[in-house]
């Protein structure tokens, strides 16, 4: 397994560079927005990746509640954390795109608002993990993750009704997109998914190691009774 990781890193690096080339050079320039539209190739794949990671978090949390395996808990933690990172990218690149195209940094339209709320929910999840004492964290976090995931349809539904008359900036109408644009988009999505997978993997190994070290510390303090016992 240790040999596979560097190979994957190299492959993902090549894929990301190819995707960058596709996004900046091969994909045709959009007529009305110009080059700014190329932000799309980073913005949208990041959003998809973040949603997938949040979904993985939901699945892993359910699995933990049923089976109580520590692995499921680590997967839930890792996917939420990396998902928040990708969601942050979405929320940062969105306004940078909106500014030249719509003339404003932020608008409370449906997609922006619901992504922000999603981000808030998962940040609060990470807060809970950080602030609860280690033994109880997995169960509490899993319960929160389930509630948070159930909240998502309500968020979309309510904000959809709240902001129905918003402009459809992304892929307006659908179907009329240039195939080279679609190609660049999908390649970028593939590249970012691979990248996210690698980040998750490293974070997973880190968490595993962290738990082993914590365990070792606990064992050490048990085996050496002449410290705090006196």
């Amino acid at each position: 397994m240790k040999k596979v990781f560097p190979i994957l890193v190299v492959l993902t690096g090549i894929l990301l560079s190819y995707a960058l080339y596709q996004a900046l050079v091969v994909a045709p320039t959009e007529q009305t927005m110009g080059n700014v539209q190329r932000i799309f190739y980073y913005h949208v794949p990041s959003a998809w990746t973040a949603f997938i990671l949040f979904f993985v978090n939901f699945g892993a949390s359910i699995a933990y509640l049923i089976k109580r395996r520590p692995t499921a808990d680590i997967i839930a933690l890792v996917s939420a954390e990396v998902g928040v990172v990708f969601c942050t990218v979405v929320l940062v690149t969105g306004p940078i795109w909106a500014r030249p195209v719509w003339g404003i940094w932020w608008t409370w339209d449906m997609r922006l608002t619901s992504t922000l709320v999603l981000w808030l929910i998962y940040v609060s999840y990470l807060f809970l993990r950080r602030f609860s004492s280690s033994g109880e964290t997995p169960l509490l976090a899993a319960a929160l993750a389930v509630l948070g995931a159930l909240c998502v349809p309500f968020v979309y539904f309510s904000i959809w009704f709240f902001r129905t008359q918003h402009p459809q900036p992304v892929m307006g109408g659908g179907g009329s997109i240039d195939p080279r644009m679609m190609h660049a988009l999908l390649i970028n999505w593939l590249a970012f998914s691979c990248f996210a997978f690698l980040v998750c993997w490293s974070r997973y190994r880190l968490e595993k190691l962290q738990r082993e070290v914590d365990h070792a510390h606990a064992m050490k303090s048990l085996l050496e009774p002449h410290g705090s016992a006196r």
Partner: protein, 41 residues
Amino acid sequence: MRQNPYLFAAYAATWIIHITYLITIVRRYSRLQREIEGLKK
């Protein structure tokens, strides 16, 4: 690319966020390695 600061800013911001996160992972990892060295003694 040169005439479009927004495009550059968005791509740069994306990588800055990702690299910052990766750096925190690497730093935590190296701190753990040191802790393991300490535990082994």
